[in-house]
């Protein structure tokens, strides 16, 4: 990139723009976990974990981990002022009731209609859905952060997902290493691209058609 910021953090930084003050946010593992690093200081955001935490802070200093204070992925966290613990049923009640404003998830595939496929690769990997279905169906906004193509270069944004769905028509925004798409009325709108990538390049690496926003933004951070 040469911008002093790696691809993963660029994606996380873009996702962070979607976070508004006071929001309850649930982050998936991987790139989404980088999002908090890109929020303005002093922004009151409540990070939510499915196991029963509201108000997570940054990772603990090595050696100061608390085995009984971990996120849903099983990794040690800290909590901020105003945090609370609850049982996992209530943590999911928050999701189903629409009180979680934003979830940022990784995915294996996304369709142009916003279908999400991130829980199973038949015959290869059957990890189970965990809490992904609730988050995908019920968070008020669903953002997918993923590489534009898989490790073989095959598109992960498709006309229809070939992998079993986690939930259908649930994704609002897709942020890849190349571009940002909005899902609108069952089709994709390219709203942003990360410099130096081009629309042609993105079209070549995307498995379905998409519109291009009139005010297409080029992100150069």
């Amino acid at each position: 990139m040469g911008m002093g910021i790696d691809v993963r953090n660029r994606m996380a930084k873009r996702a962070a723009e979607e976070v508004t003050p006071g929001m309850v946010v649930n982050l998936g593992i991987g790139i989404p976990s980088l999002v908090p690093n890109h929020l303005p200081g002093g922004m009151n955001v409540m990070f939510h974990a499915e196991n029963g935490i509201v108000g997570m802070g940054e990772s603990p200093v090595r050696g100061l981990e608390d085995e009984n204070l971990c996120n849903a992925g099983g990794f040690p966290v800290t909590v901020l002022q105003g945090s609370s613990y609850c049982d996992s049923a209530m943590a999911f009640g928050m999701i189903r009731r629409g009180r979680v404003g934003l979830t940022i998830l990784g995915s294996l595939q996304v369709s142009k209609r916003g279908d999400l496929a991130n829980w199973i690769v038949p015959g290869k990997k059957v990890p189970g859905m965990g809490g992904a279905m609730e988050l995908a169906q019920k968070a008020r906004k669903v953002i997918v952060l993923m590489n534009h193509t898989d490790k073989n270069g095959a598109p992960k944004i498709l006309e229809s997902c070939t992998l079993p769905l986690t939930a259908s028509e649930c994704v609002d925004l897709v942020i890849t290493d190349l571009a940002v798409f909005k899902v609108e009325n069952g089709s994709l709108l390219l709203t942003e691209l990360f410099a130096p990538h081009t629309i042609t390049e993105i079209a070549a690496r995307t498995g379905c058609d998409f519109s291009v926003a009139e005010d297409l933004r080029v992100i150069d951070y």
Binding site: N44, V79, S84, Y85, R99
Partner: protein, 238 residues
């Protein structure tokens, strides 16, 4: 709004407000859910605010109709509700009279079922299946039933409300709540079921002063916190 607040408190989530501000969320004909059990744990200032603003034709949801001048009873006794979903009205004879005269529609739900219906609403569920009241004329009337593993159940639909009002011992600026003894009762359930939830708190404490382990209602479910003037009715046992 900030100016009107007598409490000098940081308000980082914008949830702390005045009774006047809270009153903007009430209107005639609305569905209103209230915390409390026999008046214990019902929010006195919000109830008085509703009375003073002359809100009427309310559809109320809560455990009971309180006593005539205690808790939600003050609203019911003055004929401000057109309907209530509750488990009993026995402690408020005025409610019984209004019902008999056709001025108040009462939908009775067994107490534990009512609690679960409210909780289901707050938890984003559609309904619960219970065998309480299966085959019971009044309770099962108009309800779907289902056989599951050889047993019969009633489908008891979730309940939600446009606004929920609850009474807390303490609230922090995020709306995290703790309750006082048996004044907890239905409040944590009601707090989750409102599309907009207002907590009236005996005390508003700074962020970080509630132990995260002790918080009963996470502020995630609470949209507004107002300070309480405290209970202003005389108890039935006094």
């Amino acid at each position: 709004m900030e100016m009107e607040l007598e409490i000098k408190m940081e308000n980082p989530f914008g949830k702390i407000a005045t009774l006047e501000k809270a009153m903007e969320h009430f209107h005639d004909g609305m569905t209103l859910m209230f915390g409390g059990f026999g008046g214990v744990g019902s929010p006195p200032d919000l109830i008085d605010g509703i009375l003073e603003k002359n809100i009427k034709n309310l559809v109320l949801i809560g455990n009971d109709t309180g006593f005539p001048e205690i808790g939600i009873g003050k609203i019911v006794s003055r004929g401000r509700a057109k309907k209530i979903i509750a488990s009993h009205i026995g402690s408020n004879p005025v409610a019984g009279t209004l019902m008999t005269e056709g001025l108040l529609e009462v939908e009775f739900s067994p107490q534990g079922t009512l609690c679960e219906r409210i909780r289901a609403g707050g938890m984003g569920l559609g309904a619960i299946l219970t065998d309480i009241g299966v085959g019971h004329d009044l309770v099962s009337k108009g309800k779907k039933t289902m056989e599951l593993n050889g047993k019969d159940y009633l489908i008891e639909p979730a309940l939600t409300a446009e606004v929920s009002i609850v009474y807390a011992r303490k609230a922090d600026p995020y709306g995290n709540l703790v309750f006082d003894k048996s004044a907890r009762n239905t409040n944590p359930l009601v707090a989750m079921a409102g599309a907009f939830t207002i907590a009236e708190a005996e005390e508003i404490v700074p962020l970080g002063s509630l132990n995260p382990e002790e918080i009963v209602t996470p502020g995630v479910f609470v949209d507004m916190v107002i300070p309480s003037g405290g209970v202003n009715w005389k108890w039935a046992w006094e």
